[in-house]
């Protein structure tokens, strides 16, 4: 899996890896100054970290909920570490790769790549314009071709 992470200053791709956190690792995120959210409250969900491969630097987190009875993966939270938020970010593409990873899980588990999320209303257009998420009431969804296109764009083949 080749993540589409770009070092902004040099405009070059950096290698990254995504790993599932253990319950203990999630609990240890309480009070972390690296994030705006309190990630320790996500312990009931699956939380994955994205790190640089070269120096193991933590870049971001995603929390997903598996809804097997609906063959669906729900993205509950995503966040880049604070130093990679906003105009001065050093690495570009962190949430994009994590969303791509959720799409991949949704195919791997036989859910047709079906991924849902429920962002604040004011931020919904961003997910539609950038990734192709469809409005579905309060939620937004992607599946099949759109989900695959997100994977292809952000988790490139070797």
């Amino acid at each position: 899996m080749n993540l589409n992470l770009i070092e902004v200053e040099r405009g070059k791709r950096v290698a990254g890896k995504i790993k599932k956190l253990t319950l203990n690792q999630i609990k240890k995120l309480k009070g972390s100054k690296k994030f705006q959210f309190d990630w320790s409250t996500e312990e009931a969900n699956e939380v994955y970290s994205i790190k640089r491969s070269d120096n193991n630097e933590l870049l971001g987190l995603i929390s997903i909920i598996d809804v097997p009875q609906e063959l669906r993966i729900h993205i509950n939270l995503v966040e880049s570490v604070i130093i990679n938020q906003g105009r001065k970010k050093k690495i570009d593409g962190i949430p994009d790769c994590l969303i791509g990873f959720a799409c991949k899980i949704a195919f791997m588990r036989g859910y047709d790549g079906f991924v849902s999320l429920g962002p604040k209303t004011r931020l919904k257009d961003y997910y539609h314009n950038k990734f192709g998420f469809r409005h579905m009431g309060t939620h937004m969804v992607v599946f099949l071709d759109t989900s695959q296109s997100i994977i292809t764009k952000y988790l490139k083949d070797e």
Partner: protein, 179 residues
């Protein structure tokens, strides 16, 4: 003010909405009733989508499931004899609802040879992996098929002391570099 709204308000003082969304997913703050309704709407949509899914889309989805499971196995798991090339090829044929005969015709290889490969009695060659890539509509790259073969070879090289001993006995004038 809810915790998510509080974070949004704080960030929106120095970031645009796009910059916020580019950094994190801030969930909507819904009441319990709103959340319940939203979940019901989504559930109904999902079931409708499943009911209306065409056979073509079902196969497409299953091929991608197969591809990403394969990728995960190759990248993150130890060699597993139940996931050798032959078994995976059989699974590929099952997804596409192809008999061995039909698949051998599609790939232009002899039926007997395909059977031997599926039963792991014969090793596939690189050419077959290219044909499989083309046959899958390029959803499953040749390299992925090839890595299934090399994963097994790597496992065998690490453990095959017998062949190593037999072959070593055939070597003359070996360079000596023992520390």
């Amino acid at each position: 003010m809810s915790k998510y709204e509080e974070i949004y308000q704080k960030l929106s003082k120095h970031l645009t909405d796009e910059e916020i969304a580019d950094s994190m997913l801030i969930p909507a703050d819904l009441t319990e009733e709103e959340q319940k309704q939203a979940d019901e709407e989504l559930r109904a949509f999902r079931f409708k989508l499943l009911a209306e899914m065409t056979e073509e889309k079902r196969i497409y989805s299953d091929l991608l499931r197969f591809r990403y499971q394969l990728e995960n196995y190759l990248e993150n798991e130890e060699f597993n004899s139940s996931r050798e090339f032959g078994g995976q090829l059989e699974e590929y044929a099952r997804i596409l609802k192809r008999t061995k005969k039909k698949l051998s015709e599609d790939l232009n290889i002899h039926y007997t040879r395909l059977s031997r490969i599926i039963n792991n009695h014969e090793d596939p060659n690189i050419e077959l992996t290219y044909r499989l890539e083309k046959h899958s509509g390029e959803l499953i790259p040749a390299l992925m098929w090839w890595k299934l073969i090399t994963k097994k070879q790597e496992f065998e090289i690490k453990r095959d002391k017998t062949t190593r001993r037999i072959e070593a006995a055939k070597v003359k004038n070996a360079v000596r570099y023992r520390a």
